[in-house]
Symmetry: C2
DNA sequence: GTCCGTCAAGAGCGCTGCTCTCTTTTTTGA
DNA sequence: TCAAAAAAGAGAGCAGCGCTCTTGACGGAC
């Protein structure tokens, strides 16, 4: 089993090559990806691809999984690069990393954050990857709250039913005791108000990136990067990051 | 010319009927709309449709134009229904109208705010309709600014290049002198800070609606309407609406 | 050295958007 | 009023699509 028989290796390589070509086609032709075109470019006949992916949907799923992973990697890497205690810097770094990844991989971004394919249902293994960005943002807020540096401006308070949803999310948050080396007490978690303001930053992040990727800022904003930076700073203000 | 010859009338009716059937197919099958299926349902042969729409793209364009118009109508109607001086109420009414329209027409919403079709370029006559929602929101902010009731919280200031973009947008804003019956002086326009905060509400609105329509809140937020309302209130806070 | 699993190829099915030609029906102009 | 013109629909056909099934050929294990 430790010996990855030659056959298995060349198979894995060709599988990657198929995905690579498919990714390139995706970038030019959009979501209407043609299996036959991919096969042609690889010098294969279309039916041969079915040895590697059971269907077109399965190939797309593989690309979606890879995209979530790449975006999650980029976000977490950006968070890790910034100074731990520079909370606002970490927040902005993650936001800019998401935007940069989207700008460099617009088709893959559209695949995961654009209109979903009607009949398509995301496999279970994608949901974990899909949450990595919001968990990264949440982790920054949590670090801020723990060190008592989350000082949000006075804003409207969420109504009780929303508070219940938010409380559930706070309880569901993966125990981050290992991050700070401290036991997670009740005063270590976010309040509902803090989470609500943080989630505003989450939807703002992807809303604005989608606007830019999908061309909705076309004749509205020219200074895209600076505008994005300013908007993310506004959301950091709202979240209460110093 | 005043007599709309019987033939022209039945043609207009059939054109509408084609769009209606196409809209229904869009709702179930998503963006992969089949001309042949639409023709079949109408008892026509596929080539007959080409008497009414030169191509599948042209049919989709007609649906897009209709969608922008319907969404713009809904937003403006909601704005008009609320009391003029209830600025926050108008803001929230417009936001909820956009959300409700999207919930009732998810496929059409995806058509105009989802991932764009790669080769597709929007015709010029859509851009005006596409701006109606943001102009409605801007009008509310402008009304607030004119009556001196825009009191935003202290937040980061936009850097000079962004200020230039914002100033251009303010200058481009259609002269709204007829709305208040007053001449538009310089003190009647929005400041760059005010516009930047208002635009945050704009991208937040569509970001959050897209999240909901595209299923990204699926196991995150259960109280969708109340959560949306709270988030829009947060953005009204940020914009400075009393 | 044989045998079995894997691989690529080819043919083919039903579907798609779109074009072209032909016939029928309706409108129009002298 | 009647023929010419315009418009509408039907049908055949082209190239492309995803996908299935069958047929040979090759390579590693016994």
């Amino acid at each position: 089993m430790t010996a990855p028989s030659i056959r298995a290796r060349v198979r894995a390589e060709l599988t990657e090559e198929i995905k690579s070509v498919a990714r390139r086609h995706l970038a030019t032709d959009g979501a209407n990806l043609s299996l036959r075109a991919v096969a042609r470019e690889l010098g294969l006949v279309s039916s041969a691809l079915y040895r590697y992916f059971a269907s077109r949907d399965e190939l797309l799923t593989a690309l979606i999984v890879d995209a979530y992973r790449a975006l999650g990697d980029a976000a977490e890497a950006a968070d890790a690069t910034a100074t731990d205690t520079d909370l606002r810097g970490r927040w902005l770094a993650v936001c800019h990393a998401v935007r940069q990844w989207a700008l460099h991989h617009p088709a893959e971004y559209a695949l995961i954050y654009g209109s979903p394919v009607p009949g398509y249902v995301a496999p279970a293994d994608t949901t974990a990857s899909a949450q990595r960005v919001v968990l990264t943002l949440g982790g920054i807020l949590l670090d801020a709250a723990r060190t008592g540096r989350l000082t949000p401006p006075p804003t409207s308070a969420p109504p009780p039913p929303v508070r219940a949803d938010l409380a559930r999310l706070i309880a569901q948050y993966p125990d981050a005791a290992d991050q700070g080396g401290r036991a997670a007490g009740s005063h270590d978690a976010l309040t509902e108000e803090q989470l609500a303001r943080g989630l505003a930053g989450w939807s703002q992040l992807f809303g604005l990136v989608s606007f830019e990727i999908f061309g909705r800022l076309e004749q509205v904003v020219d200074q895209r990067e600076l505008y994005f930076d300013h908007q993310m700073r506004l959301m950091a203000d709202l979240a209460g990051l110093p």
